[in-house]
């Protein structure tokens, strides 16, 4: 796979995740987070097993162990994200989720991998973009939803770093399929504790089924298999940088998706410039023009 092909895949994943905020918000407010997790990842697992069932014979114990760890992180991430998105406007949730770009280098520091000057500068620019989008007023973020999305953001960063390591050790396809099965099982157990009636407690409307299916297909089955493939060929910073352009896409989608879906977000000059600055920040963080060539080469070698 060429670098361009890999970038296209990562952008496609970003698009799926960006659109997920709009669909999550269209779920009924009383819809259980555990039901959401079980149904979306369960359907995704069924789709993936149906498509790749012949390849499942190659699963090893080590694959199961690693995908178990990934699915634990993913469960925490999806639950926190869903809770947060229900409490915040879709575009705000997406802007906060873009802060993964700050958490990933910080976690890399803990792992004794120094972020570059560009990473630091890019992070600063992204924060500026975030403030500008909200006209330098943080009142919209003074909400419990912010804490949940930030928690999701932290889990997402751990997930990216872990997936980076595991996909280089295991078959990314098998990791992708088994983690989805484990995540669905975790979701189901939690749902069972919350409401023993589980599947029978849901009022299945056409709109609900449609949203659940869309989320399962695009944001789980499609996006996570593609992510596993991409992470095999890309470093975690590149994944995070491309993912941080998510607010730009979310903002556009939140305006374009039909009002029938209950989302009516305004697209003003501040949000436009904020999104542009975030995109510029992502580019700055992803490039290496601030480091000397030797240093950049050394960092690259160290990362390898």
């Amino acid at each position: 796979m060429t670098k361009t092909e890999n970038n296209i895949l990562l952008f496609s994943i970003t698009l799926c995740w960006a659109s997920s905020y709009v669909f999550i918000k269209s779920l009924p407010p009383d819809f259980s987070s555990f039901a959401y997790l079980t149904l979306t990842t369960g359907i995704a697992a069924v789709i993936l097993v149906a498509v790749f069932w012949r390849r499942l014979r190659d699963i090893k114990v080590s694959t199961l162990k690693r995908s178990f760890v990934l699915s634990l992180i993913l469960t925490a991430n999806l639950l926190a994200e869903k809770r947060g998105v229900m409490l915040l406007p879709a575009s705000n949730a997406s802007f906060l989720a873009a802060l993964t770009i700050l958490v990933v280098p910080l976690l890399m520091l803990l792992l004794r991998k120094k972020p570059t000057k560009n990473n630091m500068a890019g992070a600063g620019i992204i924060i500026l973009g975030l403030f500008l989008t909200n006209r330098f007023s943080m009142s919209a973020f003074v909400n419990t939803g912010t804490l949940y999305v930030m928690l999701g953001c932290f889990c997402s960063a751990i997930y990216i770093l872990s997936a980076d390591r595991f996909t280089k050790q295991e078959n990314p396809l098998l990791i992708g399929v088994t983690q989805m099965i484990f995540t669905a099982l975790f979701g189901f157990v939690l749902w069972l504790f919350e409401n023993p009636a589980t599947f029978f407690s849901v009022n299945y409307t056409r709109e609900l089924l449609s949203s659940i299916f869309i989320l399962a297909f695009f944001t789980k089955a499609y996006a996570y298999i593609l992510l596993m493939f991409s992470q095999k060929y890309a470093d975690p910073m590149r994944v995070t940088i491309i993912a941080s352009t998510e607010p730009v896409v979310t903002l556009t989608l939140a305006v374009l998706i039909p009002a029938a879906y209950g989302t009516s977000e305004s697209f003003n000059i501040f949000s436009l410039f904020g999104a542009l600055i975030i995109a510029i920040g992502a580019v700055v963080a992803g490039s290496g023009f601030m480091s000397s060539r030797k240093k950049a080469e050394r960092t690259e070698l160290h990362a390898d």
Binding site: L173, F229, A260
Partner: protein
């Protein structure tokens, strides 16, 4: 990876029906069109499986219509989706000697150009078809169909083609087939010029409908362009 024709048909058909039906709730023009990520499938199915993929897309669209929007206009949908898949297959092999892939920038550009021509074609065919056969002119249909086709075939179709042609999957795409009309019957080497004229006609129709807000009721010369476009399309397909 080689897939039998039957499997090619059923994989494409199943994907089309499931995705097409799931998005029926996101209506854009009641009874006619909705947000359609399923439009990512036709160019890829056409490039990978040729006419088998194209027939699967056409019939798949008819089956998906059973979940909403089924009517006589569904016949136009069958033809439009067949064309949306088969035209990319014909155009790819007209401009490239390689099997479909997007490993080089040249090939990415070719894929984008093919998606653009295909989107122009489907939008023109459906909107003008509805006017010609049912007396309905809805300008929004042209716009929505165009952006649905172009947007989704680039946003999801391109990654799908990357995965299918990657080393892990390495699907064996259908080989080129000759042009009957321009090649065997008329024996003329005008395939590329005909395609260029067709693109020009499609662009003119797009500018007239999208930017100038014209319609075939008031500007009857649009019918002439439409008839010429139909001739051009037949030349590409056969």
């Amino acid at each position: 990876m080689q897939i039998s024709r039957r499997k090619q048909f059923f994989v494409t058909f199943a994907a089309f029906v499931v995705l097409g039906a799931a998005f029926k709730v996101m209506v854009l023009v009641e009874g006619f069109t909705e947000v359609r990520p399923v439009n990512a499938i036709p160019p890829v199915a056409g490039l990978a499986f040729g006419w088998v993929g194209a027939i699967a897309c056409g019939i798949g669209n008819l089956a998906a219509d059973l979940f909403g929007g089924f009517g006589w206009s569904s016949v136009l949908g069958v033809i439009a989706n067949f064309v949306a898949a088969y035209l990319p297959y014909r155009l790819w092999h007209l401009f490239s000697n390689e099997a479909p892939n997007v490993r080089s920038r040249k090939n990415i550009l070719l894929y984008l150009l093919i998606c653009l021509i295909s989107a122009f074609t489907v939008a023109w065919f459906l909107s003008f078809g509805l006017y010609t056969f049912f007396g309905l002119w809805i300008a929004q249909i042209y716009v929505y169909v165009f952006f649905n086709n172009l947007g989704f075939s680039v946003m999801f179709g391109l990654p799908l083609l990357i995965i299918l042609t990657s080393d892990s999957v390495s699907i064996q795409c259908r080989k080129r087939s000759g042009h009957i009309l321009l090649g065997k019957l008329l024996g003329i080497k005008l395939k590329k010029p005909v395609c260029a004229v067709y693109l020009l006609l499609m662009t003119v129709i797009f500018v007239c409908v999208f930017f100038a807000g014209m319609n075939p009721k008031d500007a009857s010369w649009l019918h002439v362009l439409s008839a010429l476009s139909l001739a051009g399309l037949v030349c590409q397909i056969l």
